[in-house]
Amino acid sequence: MNIETMKRVTIVAEAVIAERIQDDILRLGATGYTTTKAEGRGSRGVRASEWEGRNEKIETIVTPAVADELLQHLSDHYFEHYAVIAYAHTVDVVRGAKYR
């Protein structure tokens, strides 16, 4: 089996900006992402409205370079005003080509 290491970046964001972040992810070079509905509690506790849905958890498997760029981008554009957290860690994937 052909194991490669990639980064998984996890983002938890208030629902109102989830779609925008998903677009950003693809634009920065990810080949896909997976989202789940989440709720949460943090220092800010801000949500636009129930009608928009609560939080969205977005996970994407990317190369280390894309991971860095993505974290930087989120930090620059969303961290100040929106309820967003993001973190990354290394994972082993099969068929790494799928994520490049």
Binding site: V16, I17, V46, A48, S49, E50, E52, G53, Y82
Partner: protein, 320 residues
């Protein structure tokens, strides 16, 4: 009917009692929660249903005065931020973004407040124009856009401007209202007859369920009263009354029935908590949601539902 009887008629309706029950659920820390899909399903149902009913009325309406009233309603909601914004800036000393955010909410309308107002008229046996749901749809957007323009003029920011307007215009709530209007207008009375056992007859009951959830949502914000400050609290209680008076008078001038003028007044008095928050969050991220959500959802909304509705109806008695 005396003022007290009006208040009582309103407060003891199942819908308002369910709203109170929702507040109680949060206050006693019950573990009752509406799953999010249920909340969304109820919203879709309510918006589509009022759209369809309004559309049927639009199509069968004779049109006399209808367009005049609709036009006046649009103007009224578009104009609202013109006085709210400077007031919030100067008297309450809010930042431009915060002032614009609050102004946008009061320039838009609350669908559920509209429904409570029409349920109140039903209980009174007071008639009103069938095209009023169209008014809700038309009054949702203009105030938000004007408020955003005011902020932009002051701060010069332009980020995500087009996207913000798109968001609100094709946003779910406006889309369902307008789409429902189209479905209703095109299928007419005959079409409505086929589906009224779903969209009309059980409507008031579904509204109860929705208000139960809204009570919980509103009460969860009660903890933020402190962040709002006394001045904004007063704004959130008095401004609706002023807007209601203005709306009723506008309706009167346009030749609406007493019921219609009362509903227009209540719409003017109401503040959006569906379309506006999502748009504002995207367009004015630097505005503090604790301010605008708390004032619209936790102060003005319960005030209108409980005290406002009978008050505005009594007000309308001065002209009719």
């Amino acid at each position: 009917m005396s003022a007290l009887e009006l208040v009582q008629l309103n407060l003891l309706s199942p819908a308002i009692l369910c709203f109170a029950l929702g507040i109680a659920a949060t206050l006693v820390r019950s573990d009752l929660r509406f799953p999010e899909p249920l909340y969304q399903a109820l919203s879709i149902y309510l918006l589509l249903a009022i759209g369809i009913k309004g559309g049927v009325a639009l199509a069968s309406g004779t049109g006399e005065g209808m367009w005049l009233a609709l036009g006046a309603a649009v103007l009224l909601s578009a104009a609202t931020p013109l006085w709210c914004f400077p007031l919030l800036r100067l008297a309450l000393r809010l930042s431009p973004a915060d002032a614009g955010a609050v102004a946008a909410h009061y320039g838009s309308v609350s669908v559920v407040t509209f429904l409570a107002a029409t349920a109140f008229l039903h209980a009174l046996g007071e008639p009103f124009e069938g095209f009023l749901p169209a008014m809700v749809a038309l009054m949702e957007v203009p105030g938000i856009i004007v408020a955003l323009l005011l902020v932009q003029r002051l701060t010069g920011g332009t980020t995500h401007w087009a996207e913000s307007i798109r968001t609100v215009v094709v946003g779910k709530s406006v889309f369902l209202l307008l789409g429902g209007l189209a479905v209703g207008a095109l299928s007419g009375e005959a079409g409505l007859a086929k589906v009224d056992a779903f969209f009309v007859t059980p409507f008031q009951g579904v509204l109860c369920l929705f208000l139960l959830e809204m009570g919980m949502v509103a009460a969860r914000r009660f903890g933020d009263f402190g962040k709002v400050g006394a001045a904004l609290l007063v704004f959130s209680l008095l401004m609706p009354i002023a807007h209601a008076a203005l709306g009723i008078y506008t309706g009167y001038l346009c030749g609406l029935s007493r019921g219609g003028a009362f509903v227009l007044g209540t719409l003017a008095a109401s503040a959006s908590y569906i379309a506006a928050p999502a748009t504002i969050r995207l367009a004015l991220p630097q505005a503090n949601p604790a301010l605008y959500l708390t004032s619209a959802l936790a102060i003005t909304f319960p005030f209108n539902l409980t005290v406002g509705i009978p008050l505005y109806y009594a007000l309308s008695g001065w002209l009719y």
